[in-house]
Structure formats: C-alpha cells, structure tokens
Amino acid sequence: MVNDTIIIGGGPAGLKAASSLNSLGHKVTIIEKTEVLGGQIKNWYKLFPDFSDSYSVVSNLTNLSSDISINLNSTVLDVQKENGHFNLLLSNNKRLKGKSILLTTGFSLYDASKKEEYGYGFYKGVLTNKDLEHNFINNPKFIDIDNPTVVFIHCVGSRDHKAGNMHCSKVCCVTAVKQAIEIKQFYPKANVYCFYMDLRMFGRGYEDLYLKAQSEYNIKFIRGRVSEISETFENKIVVKAEDTLSSKPIKLTSDYAILMSGIVPTKENFPLFNKLSVSINSSDGFSNEPSFNNLLNLKTEGVFTAGCINGPKTIPEVLTESDSVALSIHSFLSR
C-alpha cells in the first residue's frame, strides 16, 4: 500500500510531524536507524531553560497512535521516484512506497577528539556535554570528592573555521549554563567556571538562567577561548586561556573539563540528500536555505525537511517547525 508520507528519522522532529500528519488523516511510516525512537534527546538528562525532564518529553513524543507504522533498525539504501511516487529500499530489504518524504535526520555532535589541543579521549577528566548528560542519567555522583573544580569550555568545534564549522551551534551556551547549575546542584561546594567567547542567551528564560547561575550558584564566567588543556601527574586537568577582560593569560587546575561539542550536519546522510536533490549549504553543511518568502525552499516536489537537518535548533523550535511542515505536506497531499 502507498503511504502518504514516509518520515526518515524518529527523533523529536519526525515524531511530532508524524503525529500531526496522522491527526490530519494521513497514512504515515517512520524509519529509524537505531533500535528505539526518540533521537538524541534520549541522551539528555534535563532540558534548558526550565530543567524539564527529557524522559517525559520523549515519552510524550513516542506515545503515538497505532495507525503510524514504525520501522526500527532500518536505514534507507535506495530511493527512486516513479510516477510521482517514491520507492524506498530499506536495509532490512523491506520496500516502501510513499507520496511524499519528510527528512528529519537530525544532527551529529562535533567529534571533540578532532580538537587535539583539548585532549578528549586522552585525558580521563575531559568529557563532552553528552558524556556529562550520560553521567547525570546513570551516575550523577561520578565525582568522588564533594568540592570538585569543573570547567566548561564553550564553542568546541563551533565558530571555528579550521574545524570546518563557521556556524554558531546556538544551543551550547545555554546548555553549558544549565549543566554548570546541575553540577552545583549535585555538588554544592563545587567551583564551576565557564570559558566563553560570547554568551548567546537568545531564548526566552535563558538570560534569567544566566543571572541565576551568576548570583545564586556563584558560577564564574571567564571570557576567553581555551587554547590548550594538559594533565598533571595527579590526573588533574590544567586549562589555559586568555582572560580577555584583564588582557592576561589565565591558568586553572580542575578535576573535570567539559567540552561543549556543537551541532554539526550528519555527513553520512549526504548521499541520501543528493538522491532526493535536497540542497546542502556549502558554508555550514546544513540543508535547506530558506528565504523570507519561501521558508521551505525545496528543490524536489514531495520532499520536505524539518528539525536540525536544517541547522541547530532548540526542542520547541524543532516541534514548531515540524508542525508547520506537516501543514505544508497536508496541502501538498490535498492538491
């Protein structure tokens, strides 16, 4: 049978669009490459700016109608357009037919080990934002002292021409502030520092969170990009930067350094995008360059995109975009 829409990617964007399209009366199929729905938000403990439980957000999104069919552990091997229908071949040899395709393939986190000066993968005390969330979920008391020094390093692989990412990853600033507060909540005696270039507190409630971090949690913000990380014989982490507000080099020994890896496009999906003629921005590698008068700006009829495939976004932005694209798909299908 022919699906109205085949959604590739079972994260927040795909799930939200699936339930919206389903409630508009369309037959929807989701393709998800991992063994469980929910996307990367599953790896997160709590969400900024209000510390919502990410588990509850995921379970709300995955509470789908039984009309929606779901293919787990599947990737798309091939896609062809025939008589206005898309024919998909999945990795489990299943074939699907659809009138439209919605790509919600999401993002990847920047591989922090590429920034060799930070020693991720070499020094035990250097973690990424994702590792820290993993610890918050599984073992929040992973530090065995009650007054650790924890340093947050913003813009790892973002706003970094040499790392191949010119773009600002947008959500890491507020994520760092959120995680810094969480460290202070688990370890009230901790000394927490954030090394930043700018603090981009663009969203509603983010600036309040920043003020709270400063005044209630005594988190120290130092303006300067960390130039290098080294390790002492006692496996402590030494962080070096310039304190650009006093124009002096600054150095600090800490127990943990948390690298704020940025949102980058998933390059392994590019062959699929090419097959569907989805444009890829030459500067940042994300798809779909919207214009003010054409927000979807799609090249192939029947192919839609939503979520972080189109660039870094917060969860509410992803959900809003998914709803909006669901409406566009609805009008495409109703033609």
Binding site: L245, I250, L252
Partner: protein, 111 residues
C-alpha cells in the same frame, strides 16, 4: 649582587594560587557584583575616565577577582562618586556603593 639577569614577575593569572580573600570580602559586603556581565557601561559613562583612562570600574572588579590590585587604589581614588555608573548598569548593581565598600576594605587592610 648583580648576576647579570633579573627575575620577571609572571604575568599569568594562576587561579589555583591567587589570594581570593579580598574578593570574597567584597562579595560578602556587595554580593551584587556576581551579576556583572562586564559590558563596560560603567567605565564608558565614568565622568573621570575621560581624563584618567586607568579609572575603570569594570577593570577594577576583574583585577580584584584576579588578585591583581596594584593600581586599584589609585584608580578608585579618582572616583568623584557622581553615580552615573550606577545609573547605567544594566544589571542594577549599586556600583557607587561597591566603590565605597572597596575603598573601605582597602583602607581596613591598609593596602
């Protein structure tokens, strides 16, 4: 004795070693300074900084936090307590009050 070389004081701020006692005392009397976002509007509005560029409240705060207080007393002594900095501070810090508190603390410690 002249050995033919000098010892230069290291300019790096070593956060592991600096003495935070003065800063902690300033925070104790004026906890609002934690809210500073280092925007510089206090320094930009300063009536005195036009004549004395060393007089910068923003720099003074960072210097105290980094335990590098050489010149702080001089920089704050030129303050005429006009209060324009308090007027423009976006985080509502009573900068004028903080200056008075810092000067008192410096006097107490006879620095």
């Amino acid at each position: 004795m002249d050995f033919g070389y000098n010892i230069i004081k290291i300019k790096t701020v070593d956060l592991d070693r600096i003495d935070k006692s003065l800063y902690n005392r300033v925070v104790f009397v004026a906890p609002d300074i934690n809210k500073c976002i280092a925007c510089g509007s206090c320094s930009a509005s300063c009536s005195v900084s036009f004549y004395n560029s060393n007089s910068s409240f923003r720099k003074a705060l960072v210097a105290i936090e980094r335990d590098d207080i050489t010149g702080i007393k001089e920089s704050l002594s030129s303050c005429v307590l006009c209060g324009k900095c308090s007027l423009v501070c976006p985080r509502g810090i009573n900068t004028r009050g903080v200056i008075i508190a810092i000067k008192d603390l410096l006097k107490e410690e006879a620095l």
